[in-house]
């Protein structure tokens, strides 16, 4: 059987674009005399169309394009797709197979099925094919008691799934496991950045449990092959353990596609000389091109010499345009205007925040003036602890590393420097500092970053409470401090930019803290 697979991004709202992608793909498949053309979950309607489907124009449009698509389908090349509608027109994801201008087979998703597999069987050109979704929260359970399982000549699984570091290994292992249960197995998934999520891609074809065709992560790709004479089995699904490489690629893809979809070409980044902005810069350059990225260094009287030096060195390594704008004159001007309110009070939080907000203001001004988007450079560890200034360093159109703990940011820095020194070694070696008062270090206000991460992972991923975290060996005082900061600062995270998702625990989205809740 000759098969074509389309792996790509499909946006909700861009119905005509989605239709054209599918239609072009199908026509090419016909020219190549393909038997089965397969596209991923949510292709026509776009990934997670959410409330758009409540509107008649959207649902009508999708339904109309779907009919048009089905009419185009001929007798010899079947199209496998899914649709947000059940056969009765209600909203219920359904898998469909069309040939000869008709939907010949359709099966609705069974919302709860604890095998992690749902599906049913159709027959085309004497081949019995099991068609299924890979369920959202797949359960690693080999015992699938579907009759169809043993009868199927081939299984096709459609998917669209945001990349998550901690479950990627599980996902790829599960695919292999399922592949081992079928003579031939095909996995077809959406790929690419969508509003802060990066869809995994990594579609694949397996014969007798061996991977024959492996699509790339994140990138659009198509392939046509014969299921019987597919390329010799390659080595097993690669790269799933190269975690940091995947994180890197996901972030680059996330930035690129977010900008592309928003119709913005250029990025502005505030370069402090610290590790966070030092890591975001090369990611942005890879995603958007060096000519589209510019940096602003905004030293104050509290900035150390190496801050501007390190930042400038990296900007020169990457050959990007940058400006140095000292904030002291602005800070002084503010202090003068604020005199009636500040009235000779001592230097404190207000003055620290003021500096950060002057920088935010300069960055947004530069972004507005040059039609650019400001990239936010906060990391997950500091955001969790509220270590940042609202409307200051928490500004930005998208947060690039907001779902990475500080240790992951360092790992990413080393990965970026794997071939040559792009990020100055000093950015990696020096102690983190916000440089908002003389000699300030992050460690003055925060517990060590490795312990922050440990507490947060236990609390967010494993849902362990204070007592249980202490039982895991973390000091009680530190546990209380981190959890206290985490809960008290939810209000700051509420107003931060969307974050490129890399985990199940994106702070502002997945940690549903009652806003009124105060931890003692």
């Amino acid at each position: 059987m000759k098969v074509s697979i389309l792996q790509d991004t499909f946006f909700p709202g861009a119905w005509e674009d989605n239709f054209k992608k599918i239609s072009d793909f199908y026509k090419k498949a016909c020219r190549e005399k393909v038997d089965l053309a397969v596209i991923p979950t949510d292709a026509l309607c776009g990934f997670e169309p959410k409330s758009l489907l409540e509107y008649t124009d959207s649902s009508d449009k999708i339904a109309r394009l779907q009919k048009k698509l089905v009419r185009e389908v001929n007798r010899s090349t079947a199209l496998v797709f899914d649709t947000p509608f059940a056969l009765d027109g209600s909203f219920m994801p359904s898998l469909c197979v069309a040939w000869d201008s008709c939907i010949q087979f359709s099966v609705s998703q069974i919302p709860e099925c604890d095998t992690g597999l749902q599906g049913n069987m159709f027959e085309f050109k004497d081949t019995k094919i099991l068609l299924s979704y890979l369920s959202g929260s797949f359960v690693l359970q080999a015992s699938m008691d579907m009759v169809s399982l043993t009868e199927a000549d081939m299984a096709i699984f459609l998917d669209a799934r945001p990349f998550m570091v901690e479950s990627e290994r599980e996902r790829s292992r599960f695919i292999c496991q399922v592949a081992g249960m079928f003579d031939r197995m095909m996995y077809v998934a959406q790929s690419g950045g969508q509003a802060g999520r990066v869809l995994t891609g990594a579609s694949a074809y397996y014969r007798r449990g061996e991977c024959c065709v492996q699509f790339p992560y994140f990138k659009a790709h198509t392939a046509t092959f014969d299921t019987e004479a597919a390329p010799k089995p390659q080595r097993k699904t690669p790269a799933a353990d190269k975690e940091i490489a995947l994180i890197h690629d996901a972030l680059v893809c996330g930035i690129r596609d977010y900008f592309k979809h928003n119709g913005i070409k250029k990025a502005v980044i505030g370069l402090s000389g610290g590790i966070d902005s030092a890591v975001v810069l090369p990611l942005a350059v890879e995603a958007l091109g060096r000519q589209n990225v510019s940096g602003l260094m905004m030293p104050s009287q509290f900035s150390t010499d190496h801050s501007v030096k390190d930042a400038a060195k990296e900007a020169e390594n990457l050959q990007i345009y940058y400006e140095i704008i000292p904030i002291e004159p602005l800070y002084k001007a503010f202090m003068k205007q604020l005199a009636p309110v500040f009235k000779g009070t001592p230097f404190g939080l207000a003055e620290e925040n003021l500096q950060a907000r002057i920088r935010g203001n300069l960055l947004m001004a530069a972004a507005n003036k040059t039609d650019a988007m400001l990239l936010n450079t906060s990391n997950k560890s500091e955001a969790a602890c509220g270590y940042g200034t609202m409307y200051g360093d928490l500004c930005g159109g998208i947060s690039v590393i907001g779902d990475l703990y500080k240790s992951q940011v360092y790992a990413l820095a080393r990965y970026i420097n794997r071939k040559k020194e792009i990020i100055p070694q000093n950015c990696i070696d020096k102690a983190p500092s916000a440089e908002l008062r003389p000699g300030q270090k992050d460690s003055d206000s925060l517990p060590p970053y490795d312990l922050i991460e440990k507490v947060l992972r236990l609390h967010l991923e494993e849902k362990k409470d204070e007592k249980e975290i202490v039982k895991e060996g973390v000091d009680k005082e530190i546990t209380q401090k981190v959890l206290g900061l985490f809960y008290r600062n939810a209000y700051k995270r509420r107003q931060t930019p969307p974050v490129i998702r890399l985990s199940h625990t994106v702070l502002a989205e997945d940690t549903e803290i009652p806003a009124a809740y105060k931890r003692k």
Copy 2:
């Protein structure tokens, strides 16, 4: 039968406080020889404890306090309450009645029941009592085919429900309707502000369909009365049609409780002389006291004379502290520092936003320095159209009128001025302007506010699409403009403060727009 009702706010996380409130109330009821002590939905666990229940310490604590509470309950005064746990310990809201140190009766919520009523019956002191929740989305349907309905001597409905203008009439009508079906009927609900929502309160007791006891909206209140000899029937549930008075009271309560719960006493407001800040100011003064509210006027070279004059007049009417800080020196200082980036480009959006962000920076500095919270003064109409500057006028700890259309803001202004002129008439009469460039008016960039509201209401409340809105008589071009602005500017709303909820359509929370979606 002698009855005590407790209407109050209960916060998730404040388990001990909640316990004490209930326990004190119950002990007082015992001293008064009450037969039934009734508390609202979610009393012990707090309103919507969300993810807190996933943690052992929280669920253990609630379970422990619940056991303690039940042990306190004696034979002659039964306690009616609800709990997040079903009898098997799983999370499933359950209604309970305890006496003699035991839970004597318990019924779990049936998740879907299209009568809008759920309940079952217990007997205490020879009285058959139907116990029920008022379902979240109640359905106005008189046909309740529960056997118990006709047998019950009394019905008790527990509730906790955020106030929503557009469904308040429906809620109060429904209560009356249900009251008419029982000989005696009691409605017991939580009241007060919680994280941007204001729980309705308005608990009540009805005899033969006539309201005998009516609790206030929003405020904490307790009452003890005899169900047989309750005060003479008063006139029917009042005030439900005094919509603007309820909006006013809800906002005052929302501000007061948000500050109280966050442990903040003082508020800062930017006073532009426009209608929005002019309306927020007296609400804040009523909620927090005039000594806790201060205003900042920040005129620029584009500010009209009346701006500062009107704002100062209102500040003096309300006797609050205010300062005037001109932003021109700061604007000039920024323009000087930004010269390498701006390079002689013409005045545009970047310069407009810069002014708004200088103001945001000054307001946040004043708030930080005085331990105050900045109140955001954006309204729903402009927020929907993205008419505001991120990190500028969109700053703040809470948005007071972010769920009010411009017409409602004017109505509120007139209501505030009902006895005497607090808001200068000129603020109400003059054309709205952001005053960020010479002679600017909102109407230069936006369609008329009444049409913006019409399009938004049809789109958000009635889920009508463009074609359907035009069919309702709105000009096509205006419809397209408003919907275009609405979808294009979702990214701004993503980073705005929490809004005091007054409707089902809070912009950033209830309108789930795929962030990548662009309307053509």
